[in-house]
Amino acid sequence: MTRDEVECAYKRYGHLVAARCRRIVRNESTADDAVQETFVRLWRFGDGFVAAESKVGWLYRVADRCCFDQLAKQRGRREDPIEGSRELAGPGHAGQALEDWQIVRAFLDRFDDKMQQVAVLHYVDEMTQEEIAVATGWSRQTVWKKLQLLATRAAALRGSLLGAQAGLRS
């Protein structure tokens, strides 16, 4: 792709990619890095973008990968959460799902690649199990198992956090 084509794509989709990266990595400067990396990859491998039916979908898959890479680089380092987490919720977000996502997100870097992908597709994109299965090529059973595992871990993490808070109060 040419610089002009990449700039055109940034003007049209850049704000969406940036918001998504912020939702995943929870840190402004890390999100900025991920956004830049996303558009560098668009510049280098733009053929897939041009052919994609959904430009947003293509950019989001690349942005997710860039965010996971950034999280992997920072593994072991905790970052402050971004203010204004209400932007996480779409109109259809149930309270429990939002709470689960906030917990999963806080520990996203501790999951493997597939779990990260399922977490983002489910909690950020609000996809159903069937939609995730279609998007990833995995069976619905596999997707179900991963979502169950995510929910279990979220519950365990929630329990740990509550336990820690109680310990601090006492």
Binding site: L16, Q36, V56
Partner: protein, 222 residues
């Protein structure tokens, strides 16, 4: 059946990325749904906020710099083999008096994995190859070296090491990016070429005959 479109669908709707049937259905829903309409409004204002802070021109300069840095980067892990390759190039140039300072030319060493060899006229490059580039030109030292790729992108290379002796020039280093693109290496010791614009260098790279004051070497991909 969902009560609302997903956030992803609303985001795609906001930039006309939904296919027509789904776009129409989503628009119909949004027109009658206060939360979805509010989210679309929020997307619109977040767009304005985003570009106020990160305008396209500044962003593009940043990613162009990032792209260039990556393409000809100096990975720390490569420093030791790079130094070894530079030493090899030094020895190679030193052991070839016919090459060292007789006329102008650009010697290129290629290192892939543990194998390093001198690139002959018919040899090809591949993505991931480390290139050690030594321009030689009689009594002149060619300290300005650029690589122009097949897409017309121009990168100025940084000198890796001075070879001993005032007439032997310097070694420059580059790593061939993936996917591999044919490269044209340009080198000059003249001040007016050092100040040349990218357009002038692109034109020189495309020229079938090397312009005056420039030494040219073409590297083709496998």
């Amino acid at each position: 059946m969902r009560e609302h479109p997903t956030r992803l669908e609303l985001e795609r709707l906001s930039v006309d990325d939904l296919l027509p049937p789904l776009a129409e259905a989503t628009r119909a829903h949004v027109s009658a749904c206060v939360p979805c309409s509010a989210l679309l409004d929020e997307l619109s204002s977040s767009r304005e906020r985003h570009f106020a802070v990160r305008p396209a021109g500044v962003f593009m300069d940043a990613i162009e710099a990032r792209r260039n840095k990556r393409r000809w980067r100096w990975p720390l892990f490569a420093l030791v083999p790079t130094a070894a390759a530079a030493a090899g190039l030094l020895l190679f140039v030193g052991q070839r008096p016919d090459v060292r300072m007789k006329g102008g030319g650009i010697d290129v060493m290629s290192r892939r994995g543990e194998v390093m060899h001198h690139l002959g006229p018919d040899d090809r490059i591949s993505a991931g190859d480390w290139l050690g580039i030594a321009p030689v030109a009689g009594e002149k030292t060619l300290r300005s070296v650029w690589v122009v790729d097949a897409s017309g992108r121009v990168d100025a290379l940084t000198a890796l090491a001075d070879l001993p002796g005032s007439d032997t020039g310097v070694v420059h280093s580059a790593i061939v990016d993936a996917p591999c693109e044919d490269l044209v290496v340009l080198a000059s010791g003249e001040e007016h070429w050092r100040q040349a614009s990218d357009d002038a260098l692109r034109t020189a790279a495309r020229s079938p005959a090397p312009p005056s004051g420039l030494v040219v070497r073409r590297l083709r991909c496998r």
